[in-house]
Symmetry: D2
Subunit: 400 residues, 4 copies
């Protein structure tokens, strides 16, 4: 075995692959079979679909090109589990995923086993470095879907009038007790003189959208060491923030007039604000960082508070000086290619670049991000009206 390295490397990759694959299944363990099926809004996919899609990704991206003897599990699973890869042919329309009761959960678990065996065999068989890189990409891809699995499960359970809990208390897979844990209160601001800074990834694994590392110019600025809390956000609500057009972007104001005047999952009941959590409905934990707000809400809050959202380069250049990782942090940066951006080649050319319009960058990571999937150069992105992810915000301001 030459290209992919020693037995040790085989063992490590195999272990990491299988652990990742298992983790997806573990995330679903608290579910009933019925919970794997619904798609209450287009953005929220059925858990069943995530389990199938992440397996299909290995088949389409790795096995089809690098495991010549691999037999696809089922001829129509490409149609069923392709998300958006035009080069991979026709597929179920995105908003129709919840119409599909088959394959069943059991069949999808068989599919996962089939793919797992094939990848393990491939790893043990001296794969090319290209194949190894794609397997690693598949692992990172599955980790991205693990975050979506949790947020989609939360949405599916929350829209149910019964509002069942996902987990009563933390287990080995998900530390639900920390979902709304307090954050250390600090009003400290961290300052930067700006100037010419470097951002972007250059080593180890990274997605194409984080590259190339490059220079950018920043004016002096400051970021707050701590995230905005639910207590602070309640003040915004109580001060009529949702009813003051001056605070909102025009499209945000339209949105605000068609939605509840509170973060997603909040409900005013019996004289107090409650919120649906993975442990069921609870009073709002005021000292936890605010979450489930969209870009419009984040921007309006900042306008109200006299602050602004960070630019992504500001965030990245200062990230070593504050704690991050509990909430995806909205930035004021539109998702765009870095100077010199070149999409990855082959099937995965469609991975990132084609979404670079009408979306905003979020930085950091969240409660739902799997361990080992975070880095300061990571660029997450969503449309500005979406808020079912664990989004939050860190104040920024210009300084003289």
């Amino acid at each position: 075995m030459t290209e992919a390295g020693s037995d040790d490397r085989v063992a490590k990759l195999t272990q990491r692959f299988l652990a990742t694959r298992l983790h997806s299944v573990e995330l679903c363990r608290p579910l009933a079979n019925e919970d794997y099926v619904p798609q209450p809004i287009a953005d929220v996919s059925p858990p069943k679909w995530h389990l199938g899609h992440t397996s299909w990704f290995f088949e389409a991206v790795v096995l089809s090109a690098h495991a010549s003897s691999h037999r696809p599990f089922h001829p129509q699973f490409g149609f069923l589990f392709n998300s958006y890869y035009e080069s991979q042919g026709e597929r179920v329309m995105r908003h129709k995923r919840g119409d599909l009761s088959r394959p069943t959960v059991a069949e999808i678990l068989s599919y996962r086993e089939h793919v797992n065996r094939a990848i393990v065999e491939l790893i043990s068989n001296a794969p090319s470095s290209e194949a190894v890189a794609l397997i690693e990409l598949g692992i990172e891809h599955e980790q991205q879907h693990q975050e979506l699995l949790l947020t989609d499960i939360k949405y599916i359970l929350a829209v149910n009038p019964l509002q069942p809990a996902y987990l009563a208390s933390s287990n080995a897979t998900v530390d639900v007790d920390s979902e709304f844990a307090h954050q250390a209160a600090t009003g400290q601001w961290l300052s930067s003189d700006g100037g010419l800074v470097q951002i972007g990834a250059e080593i180890d694994f990274s997605f194409d959208n984080e590259r190339p590392r490059h220079r950018t110019w920043l004016e002096p600025f400051a970021l707050r060491a701590s995230l905005v809390t639910q207590r602070e956000y309640l003040e915004f609500i109580d001060d009529g923030g949702y009813k003051n057009a001056n605070l909102w972007l025009s499209e945000g104001w339209d949105w605000a007039n068609q939605n509840n005047h509170a973060p997603l999952y909040w409900l005013y009941s019996d004289g107090q604000w409650q919120q649906y959590t993975l442990q069921g409905v609870k009073p709002v934990a005021v000292d936890a960082p605010i979450t489930h707000i969209n870009f419009f809400e984040a921007a309006a809050f900042c306008q109200w508070a006299g602050w602004r959202l960070p630019r992504e380069a500001e965030w990245e250049s200062l990230a070593s000086r504050f704690t991050w990782g509990r909430r995806w942090e909205w930035t004021q940066s539109a998702y765009a290619p870095y100077p010199g951006f070149v999409p990855s080649g082959g099937v995965v050319a469609e991975y990132n670049g084609k979404f670079m319009v009408n979306q905003m960058v979020l930085r950091g990571a969240s409660f739902a991000t799997p361990a080992g999937h975070s880095r300061a150069t990571y660029r997450n992105f969503f449309h500005p009206q979406l808020r079912w992810q664990y989004t939050g915000l860190r104040p920024a301001k210009d300084i003289a």
Copy 2:
């Protein structure tokens, strides 16, 4: 026991009640748990919902008024399983039923048991004749949903790209072999001089919309002894029937221009017409009666063939002279109250009358209608664009 009669009547009602309740569950037996969840179009409810709703009906209509000690199974099941009864309060919006993974199938089966026990107890406890009548209504109501269960299951499986069969072959619950069985070919026409006829129900069980029995005047007419076959319908397709505006009602033509030019579940593939059946995809059985066509298609076919659709009074007055029961037969009669119509009272006042606009009457019964649920006075009704029921048509014509 005085009001509801002897022990024998108790036993008979109990037996009929339990047999009906069991039949609903048996209809779902071939399903995976996941199949109980989706709602691919608003008209098609999740099987899970049907099982819950029919149980709720007994709770809301019978037990709440006639079993004072009854404890509802769950305080929110009224909200979850009320279909359209405004008097019974708020409810899940009809098109949102497929968003709900809970209660699970297992929980709904427990709910069914809970209701079953309560009704059996009520029956054994000398219920008033009013209570007995409502139990009988609940049984008839559940039979109506058994037909919907089968047609909704068919739709859910058919839209799945895997197009799984519901049953490979007939079992004790569903005779799938007869779904597209040949009908005896006959071009015979049955004539009537018309005149003053009586239609409507007067004895035994009937729904309020079948009453009162009343007189109506008919001009001379004839109905064909046999239904239109798939072979005949293929001729209409091959003759360009879907492309000839002259044959269509205006709203039908708009519909035709936005849909496939064939009945629901038909697919042209490999040089021949195939159709999805409860046994999976098969070549079109040309000698079976046509089905899964809507009112627009039925009317256009008749226009093409030089015939017309029957009026419901024509159909009913002649029903004893032909065989019916395999397909719901579209009529040209809009669904309207009979002269002297009085809705049933109480909770069930909303059962029928409030739908008497924009729908067309269908007469007869279908492959999916449970045994014992049919009679010549029965009035089924659907919006003219719908066709996921086992609809068909019987030609009519004026005669001198």
Copy 3:
């Protein structure tokens, strides 16, 4: 001149034709050029379009077949002014008529002159009886559009925030003073024993949908001599009629929950109900017959009052005994072909029959109906949710 008769008949037809044509233009006289353009909802066509369409109808139906030397005014006016005649080819989509600023009003008036000259010449030239019949149909057709012109103009002016009056006071063309004139108050009921009655048209001009004259059976019934007044309708509103689901058809209840709880053009302001009239905004005239209500509202009112809507045969069989003509009267009869119905042939085959689904019959005539266009056999029809016509209602009830 043989076929169409003597010089006298020529003169009479010419005179009637030109008077009708002039009347359409006179109806628009109070308008600014800008008022001819908008189409605020799909059902309301621009006045400009009505003036063009009625001219096109003569070109397409009469001149193209019966005036061989006729040169169409413009090659694209068929595309612009065809309403729904599939046999006459492609056309501007119905809801796009308001996008068109050209042809200008002046150009359309030239078009009208061009057509007028051609028809007058045709009449003077011994037309066949078929041609004469089609000219008469064209005249009746234009009269139908005169009613729509007035109701569409009303709508266009009413949705304008300035709510300009159409006319300050009655003129030779429109007696606006009578729009909401009092009706003689009478609670008198007119009874009928029912039985076998004859309805439908048999002589003179009639539309195909009124034919053939035929027998139908009626149970004993009564109709009120007078229409429901605005005062009576106010009682329904004040009694919470719009908030009581029990009174409404299911589709009507959905409609009621999405619309103002009052007739079209009503506005509650300064502590009283006002309504937009052709003379501008005025306090509701309580002794005038109610108008601008749809079928759902009419049916809910009857349910509230303990009455019902008439059947069209009831209405027609008793029409000689009451005064009618100020409001189109909703019936409970769905628009359907009479027994033995045969559509007119040729181009005009599409005139009526293809709309016989999902619409309800209205009987009588209205304030906006041109003189000479009314008869007791006339069948008007609209979708049940529409109410921009001068609709009203006459109570009916069953009697022993």
Copy 4:
């Protein structure tokens, strides 16, 4: 007169104000009254509305605060002609502007005169420098609407099946002959080493979104001296550019699958590409710069050609070295606040900043931009799917 300066300055401002006001009216001179009314899509406002809105702007922004004796022309014109200023109260919904026939063109011209007189009087009356600045803003605002007037008129005439010309040949107001004039063919690329550049406005009149002037870092790049021509774009079409998913952003591909595969106003007819121009339909002028393409098309073209769109800082830093002004040039920069951006105060705080999401920056100016309204720091912006403006593109590329 002290604050606003000498008599000469009064005369100059008055002259500029009146010339601008007259120009708007002159742009509409070729129209029929009917052409002022339609709104075929929400983005295209009726010419009548532009004439009213630009007058309202002077009333709401200047006269209400700085001319205490000013009497508004009509109490409801604020409701009718407010575009999007929340602080100025309720208004006609944007997509409903075409429903309004009143006020008539003549009334709006009177309104314009009323406002003109008031502003001229204010200018002559020693206005404060703040008032002068707002008058100048009103002039610039009206110039922005002059461009929209021309593009909206073009759209209104083009969607009309008669496709009338706006002008047969150039007049003093609009040089229609130059709309599709050839551009000098040049493949020359202009290079820049990038580095730290300054962009943004600092002197004279500018909008708030152009400020403050600030530093930004650029990597080495080149821009082409000439715009992409229609000939080049035809090659993209002929090469299947609209059918190749690889070239498109994901949202662009969805758009492309729902639209004609050509720029707006292009039609393939009689074996050649034609396009609607202000002079009517003509064969595509292949040597003119391409126009009426949206951001998605511009980006796909660049992907196909191996180039990319410029960043706005690249464009501005090099603008002195190429000719611009015939087409708005799409950039890859999302519309965002400059570092240190502060919106203008008062009523005009809503002028620009609240649109800074989901839109892309365009640089330069176009055929339709009024003389004197252009500068290299100008930031235009539109949603990426829009293309009824005179949009075009200039290729960019990275260089070593």
